[in-house]
Amino acid sequence: MPERIIVPFGPQHPVLPEPIHLDLVLEDETVVEAVPSIGYIHRGLERLIEKREYTEYVYVAERICGICSFMHALCYSQGIEEIMKIEVPDRAHYLRTIWSECSRLHSHLLWLGLFADSMGFENLFMRSWQLRESVLDVLEDTTGGRVIQGTCKVGGVRRDIGAEKLAEMHRALDPFEAQCRDLGDVFLNDETVKYRLQGLGVISKDEAYALGAAGPTARGSGVAMDHRETGYAAYGDLGFKPVVETAGDCYARCAVRVKEVYASIDLIRRAISEMPEGSLDVKVKGAPDGEYFSRVEQPRGEVVHYLRGNGTKHLARARIRTPTLANIPPLVKMLPGAQLADVPVVVLSIDPCISCTER
């Protein structure tokens, strides 16, 4: 039996944008066990809710993560609206959907770039981020922020997108989709990419479900679970079918995200053409009293905001379960059997967002 050695991976590693630490137990070059540890950047944002008024906390919720920021604000606002029984106008729902999908687009394109980088395909990395830049430009023009949008609030949205800008966005979608399809074609059909990814970090459907995997990690293994199906915001009107792959390896998880990019473009296109007229927000009065588990599908999976009000301006508790925390157990199960050189690719395939994990 070969000698076992422990190789620490992270918290500082060229492939990791954020600090997570893994102790890898190796036999020769093969991983036999992985032990994760987090907590390098824990900020205690959940507890800040006791010091901030519930309408102000949207800005804090938004800054939990720089990539899924709009969806954190959306999830939080929806939770408060549910507790206080606020009916949000239709136009606000549609605008929220458009911004959510723009966030998903830029998050997935960012991830595709990082993933290409982790497997050593620099050119593809730059191309992904070049496309992402055009999404960020749209976000900046419509909301005023590239990654922190700041447009979602309890009771609606803070900004409108004018008819002219909407038409411009609609026109830009076709050439953008053509470029994304060229990019996706490389990820899905290039032999070298396939050779690197197929059969790597496999997790079966039953295992993924039992371990509580979320988002593309679950859908890459064939679990058809996407919270947009429940029809929050305007997804109920627009109709939505989750993207599912069955192989359960890194290639399948990558394919899910590539196809979700196409699905997001389609959703934005339909949301723009079906955009209703009307007001943007309703006035919010009083204070939340009650509790609710608000759930939204983020680029990385399902996020849960547990909010509990006690009838004052300050909530008693916010507990935020982010998708990366749920995806750590599947990651620990994926790693055994992989080569040490493949560990960065497997770790990135769950799209770890450590800022989210360490609220």
Partner: protein, 130 residues
Amino acid sequence: MGIFQMTKTVLRNLAGGPATRQYPAVPARTGPLTRGHVVFDPATCRSCSLCSKRCPCEAIRLDKEAKVWEIDRMRCIACGDCVESCPFGSLAMEPEYFSPVVEHVVERYTITYVKPEKPAKKPADESAGA
């Protein structure tokens, strides 16, 4: 064969110019809505202190007695909540990002708003109001 998927993009990139810009020689792209930094007009502020109450990161401090309005640029997250809440239009959001600093300085303004003289009321009105 699936090994030349990238060729088309590579050739197009060779023909096209660079996708990046020579920042800071060429300024960053901003839009009219870009949240850059907050500017304050001391001539119109009526010290209602809504901005400092609404600020989620406690960057704004207002001293009503001393007529001082302060902003800590290092705390400010440029969310724009103060700008929206200001009932007198004393705050505005400029699209340019605030330039980098090497020292932690709290910007301080003295409020110069002078309450306009009210037309003299009749004594009867005053007693009714009180």
